[in-house]
């Protein structure tokens, strides 16, 4: 059951091969058996899941089932779930039972999906390895000595390990695509504004975007149909028609113009990763696409610009955690300033503090123009690079990450960790969509191919990814999990 894709499971449920309760029980059983070591979930909600599964089965019995009815999903613990512990991977919110649902959670419920629980993540989505979580690191199911990537590391690991057929992630600088690549699954970061941010605990508001993580592009398309679209509660969520993302998946690729950004194949790229990516590009050529080199000249300014903009927004977004209305509060504060300083010092972990400090410093008097304003100017140049490239080609392709998953505990230096996100970060600054699809292995560890499109080109990206998955079987490979005693 757990080897099937979401699309296959949907067909099985529709055909009555098994019920949603049976499927949900099966997934809960796998979580029970395997997640002790993997640590991909922070909270599992078996009772609510079974209740939702029964509800789904009842809808199906009344012939009221939709395409997603009864399908289990896992949700990154950055989305608020009404009545469920919602931690953002932080001690600060280790006692926070959200009083409302995020828009994405609402829409998944409305579509009849079954939430299995909340997945592990880097604290407040700040990290690329899932190691900054206050709830412990997550193992990569392909190689338990490797990180699953981050920040949506729990979601990626859970899907790769077959604990959930699909999961929700968020992506601020690569947090869907990079863990999808590290764990050998498919992950889509939609255009900024395509999916409502309502109820997603904010990291960097002008960059954050939710998206699906699943086995295949087809599965991602199915989920996009449920979660994309206008929400009046999010001013930055666009009021623009939502296509049926599954409709054009099989469209032929003949005539597709692929651009390979010169800057994405330079220094620091693992030759084995490069080989896998070039092989994938060759598959596209065999499918009728043409390939040319393009340039995104400001690529190397993306990480510096990101590490001004994201921490600045984060420093402000995280000011609400002050020990007054929710979240961690220190014991016996002596006065107001003590309440603030101790609650926040105790509640936040090291990486979060680092980013709050950087953001506070760069916004402070005398530095604003040199850092924040400068970074926003560079942001415009970076967006323009992409817009210029998409005048010439339909999609861009390259590696999702310069290396496969690195070892747990290997990246001690924050700056060198940040530099790993070289191929994903610019995409968030520009607001364009990107998808990572499995494209081979380096040893035991998966490699991801990243495909980028212009604003609102999700349908095209899913089509391009799907055709590749029709021609290859990397996305069908499964890791072998160590058998555990239940």
């Amino acid at each position: 059951m757990h080897d099937k894709t979401l699309t296959e499971l949907a067909a099985s449920l529709a055909a009555g091969e098994f019920t949603s309760r049976e499927l949900t029980e099966h997934q809960l059983g796998r979580i029970e058996r395997h997640d002790g070591a993997l640590n991909s979930f922070i909270t599992v909600t078996p009772d609510a899941a079974l209740e939702a599964a029964d509800h789904a089965d009842a809808s199906r019995a009344r012939s009221e089932a939709g395409p997603l009815t009864g399908l289990p999903v896992a949700i990154k613990d950055l989305f608020c779930s009404d009545g469920v512990l919602t931690t953002a991977g932080s001690k600060m919110l280790s006692n926070f039972v959200a009083p409302y649902d995020a828009c994405v959670v609402e829409r998944l419920k409305a579509a009849g999906t079954v939430s299995l629980g909340k997945t592990n993540l880097d604290e407040f989505a700040m990290g690329s390895s899932n190691e900054s979580s206050a709830f412990g690191a997550v193992q990569n199911p392909w190689d338990t000595t490797a990180v699953p990537g981050g920040s949506s590391g729990g979601s990626a690991a859970a899907v790769a390990a077959g604990l959930a057929p699909a999961a929700m992630g968020t992506d601020t600088g690569g947090s869907i695509r990079q863990p999808a690549a590290f764990c050998g699954i498919t992950g889509l970061k939609p255009t900024y504004g395509r999916i409502s941010r309502w109820g997603i605990i904010a990291y960097a508001s002008s960059l954050d975007q939710a998206g699906p993580m699943a086995r295949t592009a087809e599965d991602c398309a199915l989920l996009m149909n449920a979660i994309a679209g206008h929400d009046p509660r999010d001013s930055t969520c666009v009021a623009r028609g939502v296509p049926d993302y599954t409709a054009d998946l099989a469209a032929p690729l003949s005539g597709l113009k692929i651009g390979l950004p010169r800057e994405y194949f330079g220094d620091g790229l693992d030759p084995a990763v490069e080989a896998a990516v070039r092989e994938a590009v060759a598959v596209y050529e065999s499918l009728g696409a043409t390939v040319r080199e393009v340039s995104l000249p400001h690529t190397h300014y993306a990480i510096p610009a990101y590490y001004v903009i994201a921490p600045a927004e984060a420093s402000s977004n995280l000011s609400r955690y002050d020990g007054v209305r929710f979240g961690h509060r220190c014991e016996n504060p002596s006065d107001l300033i003590d309440l603030y300083k101790r609650s926040r010092a105790e509640g936040f972990g090291e990486e979060v503090k680092r980013r709050i400090l950087i953001g506070t410093h760069t916004l402070s008097e005398g530095f604003f123009d040199a850092y924040y304003k400068k970074a926003q100017q560079v942001r415009r140049l970076i967006r323009q690079d992409f817009l210029d490239a998409f005048e010439e080609v339909d999609v861009l392709m390259g590696p999702t990450s310069p290396t496969p998953a690195f070892d747990l505990g290997a990246q001690k230096d924050p700056v060198s960790m940040y530099l790993q996100d070289i191929y994903t970060i610019a995409v968030n600054l520009a607001g364009i969509p990107g998808i990572s699809v499995p494209a081979g292995f380096v040893g035991k560890r998966p490699v991801g191919l990243q495909i980028l499109g212009t604003h609102f080109a999700e349908q095209r990206l899913l089509n391009v990814a799907h055709r590749y998955q029709q021609a290859t079987d990397w996305h069908l490979r499964r890791p072998e999990l160590a058998e555990e005693n239940a």
């Binding site: 009021a239 107001l336 850092y371």
Partner: protein, 95 residues
């Protein structure tokens, strides 16, 4: 723009993060190198480039002036660390 110990303490105070002198020393090195990385931006000539705050060139939508929320105080205060008579409690604020 080199970062100094005092800058770290100042940022920590503005951000209301309790940081000891030793903590500040610990962060100084990391933060210094992050800023060094960020300083590469200065190499780029951005004269005349308008700052970009949002990736899409969209404008603000307006909401009708209608009361849509009801009293959910008890619900919201369930996750509050200290409340009394419906008020959130904090150590005495002196003015």
């Amino acid at each position: 723009m080199a970062l100094e110990h005092a800058d770290v303490l100042r940022a920590a105070h503005l951000a209301r993060l309790g940081l000891s002198d030793e903590d500040a020393t610990h962060y100084l090195d990391d933060l210094g190198r992050i800023l060094e990385m960020v300083d590469h931006l200065q190499a780029l000539d951005t004269e005349g480039i308008a700052p970009l705050a949002h990736p899409l060139d969209a404008t603000q939508r307006l909401r009708a002036d209608e009361v849509t929320e009801t009293d959910r105080r008890d619900h919201f205060q369930r996750c509050a660390p200290a409340v009394e008579n419906g008020l959130y409690l904090v150590p005495r604020v002196v003015e």
